[in-house]
């Protein structure tokens, strides 16, 4: 029989290697974040600032790639085929919202949807891959891959602990996720790009700077204003989309069945 038709052997070495990759990625992310927040490097354009920008960019990107490599081989085929759909939904629904001048991003609906349907590992992988592929058209998003992974991870975690059992739990979970994502992503915006890339968000950062805040503090406050609201709406929309799925389809995801993600709405 062809080896491709057999289930892959799950050796202890492979499991250990994946865990090691995941731990290294998480430590790199947390370590970089804490170093930046504690040391608060000054002079973002001078010599050392340029080094900090490069180091932050590289560390956040490397952490995201390590997490992706740790998670990817574990994902079942049904989840792998879902990820490209989620990436396309992120872009298409994000563009549709952008085209009607609504002041929201809503560019992570697909990532959250995968987190809800297939769990936090799949959500995190979707977040990283979505950013990597989107960077082919907008290279500035590359260091935000770790933040995108966190969105998917938190969506899966929220679904596992019952955020989809009542429609009003989902936006609350999104609000909490938005705070965490905003806090983790703001050092990238501050130290790599020296601010934000949007005029509206830039104006908010400028307002905080004029009140005497440091750049990191101003960018973090702006992120804490923008992200929780955006993620609350994204989580709510993704939850409503999951409710709209036929039970036959939502029940085909093991994560939904095993953790009774949809409660009484879900498959029996």
């Amino acid at each position: 029989m062809s080896p491709n038709l057999l289930l892959p052997e799950e050796s202890a070495t492979r499991v250990m290697r994946r865990r090691l990759l995941a731990i290294t990625g998480t430590l790199l992310l947390v370590g970089t974040y804490l170093t930046l927040v504690i040391t608060q490097p000054m002079g973002i354009v001078e010599g050392l600032g340029r080094g900090v920008a490069l180091a932050t960019f590289a560390a956040y990107l490397a952490a995201a790639v390590l997490l992706l490599l740790a998670v990817l081989p574990d994902l079942p085929v049904s989840t792998l085929t879902l990820i490209p759909v989620a990436l396309a939904l992120n872009i298409i629904l994000g563009q549709f919202v952008g085209s009607v001048m609504v002041p929201l991003y809503l560019d992570s609906i697909g990532t959250v949807l995968v987190g809800f349907l297939a769990g936090r590992r799949a959500g995190a992988a979707t977040g990283v891959l979505s950013t990597l592929i989107w960077s082919l058209f907008a290279p500035t998003v590359l260091p935000f891959a770790a933040g995108a992974a966190l969105v998917g991870f938190l969506a899966g975690t929220a679904a596992r602990f019952g955020a989809l059992r009542r429609p009003y739990f989902a936006p609350v979970a999104g609000l909490v996720a938005g705070v965490l994502v905003g806090v983790v992503s703001s050092p990238v915006a501050a130290f790599v790009y020296g601010g934000t890339s949007g005029v509206g968000t830039g104006a908010v950062v400028a307002a905080f700077r004029s009140m005497g805040d440091s750049l990191l503090s101003a960018v973090t406050k702006q992120a804490l204003i923008s992200d929780p609201g955006d993620k609350a709406i994204v989580f709510l929309i993704a939850a409503l989309l999951v409710y709209a799925l036929p039970k036959r389809l939502s029940g085909s995801f093991e994560f939904i069945r095993r953790h009774r993600v949809l409660g009484q709405r879900g498959p029996k």
Partner: protein, 251 residues
């Protein structure tokens, strides 16, 4: 006239990484402008200048505006004051910071977009498949890039169908929400159903394939290109260290 560059996709990417890291570490206006000019010349030579300029301007215009707001309009440094009114303070140092940060981002954007325009997607997918990266990566990249136009077309068709049956034509926030729902729900349902069907077929074919397998598409590579890649990656790591090391002692 359109020309093509027959380099291995990883060679283009590693050269781009080296260029961006060294230019960022050097922090020189002259070098930054030279890199951007070289990219524009190269894009012009391959016949993709207009596309590069349009894509780069779409990203860089809001970025420059934002940086001017943050650093130019409310400067906190002690350099020469140009204008001041209430909380607003425009200084030469603030404007210089905004422009330096903008140029740093511009190098990343222009070099990155040029890579996208130079690299053939099919070649990139084939190169990833032939590399030691997990086989899932190549599939996900290929599926995403080829699914995107298909889903955009599906979304347009759903929108036209809803318009023909005069559904979701209301105005205001309620109308917009209804329009989003009428377009998003069928799109998501149909796409998830397609993904589910595809997973059954892929699983039946033993995806992801283990071991070496033959590919119809060959990716042009050579010993020289492999050496160039290693040198570029070495420069990407060591270049910034060599440039920035003398500054560590001075601060």
């Amino acid at each position: 006239m359109s020309r093509s560059i027959s380099l291995h996709p990883f060679t283009v990417l590693s050269l781009a990484v080296a260029t961006v890291t060294i230019t960022t570490a050097a922090g020189s206006w002259l070098l930054g402008c030279a890199v951007i000019t070289a990219c524009l010349v190269l894009a012009g030579w391959v016949g993709r200048l207009q596309r590069l300029v349009v894509m780069a301007v779409a990203i860089l215009l809001p970025t420059f505006a934002s940086l001017l707001l943050i650093h130019g309009l409310v400067a906190t440094d002690a350099s020469a004051l140009i204008a001041a009114a209430g909380p607003f303070r425009v200084t030469t140092g603030g404007l210089e910071t905004a422009m330096t940060l903008g140029l740093r981002t511009a190098v990343l954007v222009v070099v990155g977009l040029l890579c996208t325009l130079l690299i053939d997607t099919h070649q990139l997918v084939a190169a990833i498949d032939l590399s030691p990266a997990p086989p899932q990566v190549g599939y996900l990249l290929a599926a995403s890039l080829f699914l995107l136009p298909q889903m955009a077309e599906k979304q347009r068709a759903i929108g036209q169908a809803q318009t023909l049956r005069k559904a979701g034509t209301g105005r205001g926030l309620t109308g917009w929400l209804k329009r989003v729902r009428l377009r998003a729900v069928p799109l998501v349902l149909a796409s998830l159903q397609d993904a589910h069907d595809r997973s059954v077929h892929l699983a039946a074919r033993g995806f992801p394939a283990a071991g070496a397998h033959t590919r119809l598409r060959a990716v042009q590579d050579s010993l020289i290109q492999r050496r160039i890649r290693w040198v570029a990656l070495f420069c990407a790591v060591m270049g910034p260290l060599v440039i920035l090391a003398p500054l560590w002692g001075s601060k």
